[in-house]
Symmetry: C2
Subunit: 298 residues, 2 copies
């Protein structure tokens, strides 16, 4: 079998594993507040490539971390990602009616419920990291909370979304767009790769290698996402495409052109693989993922 | 001086102290994402009674906790509270234009910025609890994250807000309203009283006493808040009042009537004081607060 087939199997396996973990770690819809829990589950379950979960599970595997502990951290980052999509899709934000091939949360429920469900997903993502089942060491659990907070807060993902909204109709330089995307999507992907190192009590050299890998994979992923937006129909991608141009949003693709953007994504992908040189064959899926993110069609 | 004068001084002192802590612990508005940080600071700084901060500081003082550590936890709970107000005030939620005598965050900025600022405040509130400066013991830091998550998530504050929204136009029983309010405002107040016990490594008996105190103070506070809504003009209160009736929201006041509701608030206040019996004179401010929450006019 090719590396890509093996990767596809590994991705599917981890997606199933994290789905079970999410189902277990999300609250059950009970009591008069059930509706917000239903919306949390609608937003977090049954969709997505689970790339962030994959990064957590595969970097944790490098250090022989207990798989149940890693799955909790993987579920946490997928909850965090789901919250960000729910809030980004709101009418006051990107105003997207579709997500992962189904109505976005505020369409399936309503705006108030979507805001609350996002809030509760973020809260639960943080809370479960701190729980004893996540790691024997409370120090490691605190490190995970800090790293996730750093990646997703005002100086991370939320800051990136702010820049993205403010940039509508503005002309950004390639450098500004790089920073926007590093914050908006890059930091959480980087955290996902770092998380296995935190769980595995990796040494500083290993932590830095994983973070560098995550940074480059994240940057490559984002350019590939922007390429997808101009190249692929929304039916094939399972979400609205062609939106960046419609919204007047500049991307690296609109500035560099398709060919140069693709070349840059491929260079970042190769660089990401290079950061894993000190790891053995256990990192083969991570290497294959770096290639996959620039080859994917959805 | 009367107990109430001493309490007013203590409240003002802690409000000033937590203001400094918030200023230090919130990010500075820099870079292209500065707008979301400005909105965070607008929402969290310069307002409110800081009752939750007061509960953290005063319960921490019972155990001789380092004041700088307690101030971090106090700032965290005020960030959490501020995020909940920013999101609750949104047009899709309670649609309030005024808060603490000034325009609510989405009026001073815009909806997208308010959603993001709330998200970032919640994220920062969690993150800073996990940081080493908050407590020498990582176990204690994890306990704080867990307790705050429990108090504010789908089974706590967010769940309460969901019930509140769903209840508009519905006829709730006194018991249902009690549960709604226990979740929506009670849990975070209870957490604030418990937090000093976590910081102080209190024994189980002490932890339970503080939680029971916090629960009863929170319930008394909420009834007093509802009384305020029917009794006091919005100018005096510095926020919109008479809103519950206008929105068709049932409160304990609308069901029990003003006199019986006030009697219940006073009974809860007395019960709260009783839970502090095992603590010495150091708890005098906490005892005075229980009386204050039912006597306040704003």
């Amino acid at each position: 079998m090719t590396e890509m087939t093996l990767l596809a199997e590994a991705l599917a396996g981890i997606a199933a594993e994290v789905e079970l973990a999410l189902d277990e770690l999300l609250p059950l819809p009970e009591g008069p507040e059930a509706r917000v829990v239903e919306a949390m589950r609608y937003a977090a379950l049954g969709g997505g490539k689970r790339m962030r979960a994959f990064l957590v599970m595969e970097t944790a595997r490098l250090f022989g971390v207990d798989r149940r502990c890693a799955a909790r951290v993987a579920a946490s980052v997928e909850m965090l990602h789901a919250y960000s999509l729910v809030h980004d899709d709101l009418p006051a934000m990107d105003d997207d009616d579709m997500r992962r091939g189904k109505p976005s949360t505020h369409k399936a429920f309503d705006e108030a419920t979507a805001i609350l469900a996002g809030d509760a997903l973020l809260t639960r993502a943080m809370e479960l990291l701190a729980e004893p089942d996540t790691h024997d060491s409370a120090e490691a659990r605190c490190e995970l909370v800090m790293a996730l907070g750093h990646a997703s807060g005002a100086r991370g993902m939320v800051g990136g979304q702010m820049i993205d909204i403010l940039a509508e109709g503005e002309t950004l330089t390639a450098e500004q767009i790089g920073r926007l995307q590093a914050l908006k999507t890059g930091r959480l992907i980087q955290y996902s790769a770092e998380a296995g190192g935190i769980l595995g009590r990796a040494n500083l050299h290993q932590r830095h290698a994983l973070m560098a890998y995550g940074r480059d994979v994240g940057a490559a992923f984002q350019i590939a996402d922007d390429l997808l937006d101009v190249e692929v129909s929304s039916e094939e991608a399972g979400k609205a495409t062609g939106k960046d141009a419609a919204a007047g949003k500049a991307t690296l693709v609109s500035i560099l052109g398709i060919d140069r953007a693709r070349a840059q994504a491929e260079a970042l992908s190769a660089q990401a693989v290079h950061h894993l040189d000190s790891f053995d064959d256990k990192a083969s899926h991570l290497r294959a993922l770096a290639a996959f993110v620039v080859a994917r069609r959805s």
